[in-house]
């Protein structure tokens, strides 16, 4: 009986054992790329809502402060989605015939909730508290990006653990004075590290890296 495989296939077999390592590495690399892509994270993908609310119009255009609507952000873990009544503070008289705002008026008339699709949805195994971040000088735009330039809301950052840790490891790179937290025009100053180190000391900011800080 003649040989099925030619002796040269031995080389092929050796090569494939060696190549399998690279194939596995390539697969892992591809998975890493995919996990960080917008498809998986939703970063930069505008979310369709029942009412196409524009932060750009309300914040950049009208100059409303974040806290006019997100009233809980300084005191609570949850920044808060405003009740329809807050919309109606102005829209009782402005754009009253706009069909785009009919769901808002209907919600106000009937008491039924507007159903917003959550854009920043942290995994349930993560504890997060807005108020402490605000109190320690983490600006809105540090995590949420230039919301004042977003006609529809999207996520600016992945909210992945590696992203949280960027700041938890080196808060001095990101913190700003408390009275600038809600300033959407804040730009990282050239002396950020110097300012940051000073603020870290002044605000008693700890590098909280224990697992149970967030996974409690």
């Amino acid at each position: 009986m003649s040989q099925i495989f030619h002796p040269s296939t031995n080389t092929l077999a050796r090569l494939s054992i060696f190549g399998a390592v690279f194939a596995a590495a390539a697969l892992a690399f591809a998975a890493g790329i995919f996990a960080r892509s917008s498809v998986a994270t939703g970063v930069g993908v505008a979310v369709r809502q029942e009412v196409p609310f524009s932060h750009k119009h309300h914040v950049e255009g009208l100059g409303l402060d974040c806290r006019y609507c997100h009233t809980g952000v300084e005191e609570s873990s949850f920044a808060g989605i405003p009740p329809t009544a807050t919309c109606m503070n102005c829209h009782s008289q402005i754009w009253v015939d706009s069909p785009m705002l009919e769901p808002v008026r209907e919600s106000f008339r009937t008491g039924d909730s507007l159903e917003w699709v959550r854009v920043h949805d942290l995994a349930d195994f993560v504890y997060f508290n807005h108020s402490v971040h605000v109190a320690k000088g983490v600006g809105c735009s540090t995590c949420h990006g230039q919301v004042d330039e977003m006609p529809l809301m999207w996520k600016e950052n992945s909210l992945y653990m590696e992203w949280c840790l960027d700041c938890h490891r080196q808060p001095e790179k990101f913190v700003r004075p408390r009275d600038e937290v809600f300033n959407m025009d804040w730009e990282t100053p050239p002396n950020q590290l110097e300012l940051g180190r000073h603020l870290v000391e002044q605000y008693d900011i700890e590098n909280l890296l224990s697992c149970s800080t967030c996974h409690r």
Partner: protein, 190 residues
């Protein structure tokens, strides 16, 4: 072989995705989340009528309703310090400037876009009004203005009332009322 391998890899990726989702969305509600359990579709339940949560027994008429013996309070329920004044300024700028503008003349951006123009805070009627009056307007609304009680806690409403007093003073101050250093500052700016 190639196709089978690719399919296997896709399956692994998809499964790991599902698993991550299951951990990420556990069987509990987040604030304001929708729920199929209740008729109104809300996971957050309204407290039974008449329920008083700890720390929310608002029985101090002066602090929480701005009245003393049924009349609008003529005094603030706590001492107005520089700190409270700064808080009032900040809260005024967040919640009031959209209509009343920075100065209180009633030409804010929302008014410019068509909202009914509120009275200037510098008219005689409002200069003579007691602090409790402003507190009442913020709490219960007035004319086209809705209640701000749910957006601004009572202490902050008083701080805003104090800041309104300061704004009013700023538009009606006499030179004689100013301290020498303020006059000097003013002279330098002229």
């Amino acid at each position: 072989m190639g196709i089978r391998f690719a399919a296997g890899a896709a399956l692994v990726l998809a499964l790991s995705g599902c698993y991550a989702q299951e951990m990420a969305n556990q069987d509990r509600y987040e604030p304001l989340e929708a729920s199929g359990l209740f008729e109104d579709g809300m996971a957050s339940r309204q407290p039974i009528e008449g329920t008083v949560a700890r720390g929310q027994l608002f029985e101090d008429d002066h602090l929480y309703r701005g009245t003393v013996a049924g009349q609008p309070a003529t005094e603030f329920p706590f001492e107005i310090t520089a700190e409270i004044m700064a808080r009032g300024q900040e809260r005024y700028q967040i919640f009031c400037t959209p209509c009343h503008d920075q100065l209180g003349t009633g030409a804010g951006i929302v008014v410019q876009r068509g909202f009914r123009r509120p009275s200037s805070l510098h008219v005689d009627r409002l200069r003579a009004a007691p602090p409790g009056y402003f507190f009442d307007v913020m709490t219960n609304g007035f004319g086209a203005m809705s209640s701000y009680a749910s957006q601004v806690p009572a202490e902050d409403r008083w701080a805003i009332a104090a800041y309104i007093r300061a704004l009013q003073l700023s538009q009606n101050a006499n030179e004689a009322d100013l301290a020498p250093e303020d006059l000097e500052l003013l002279g330098a700016q002229r």
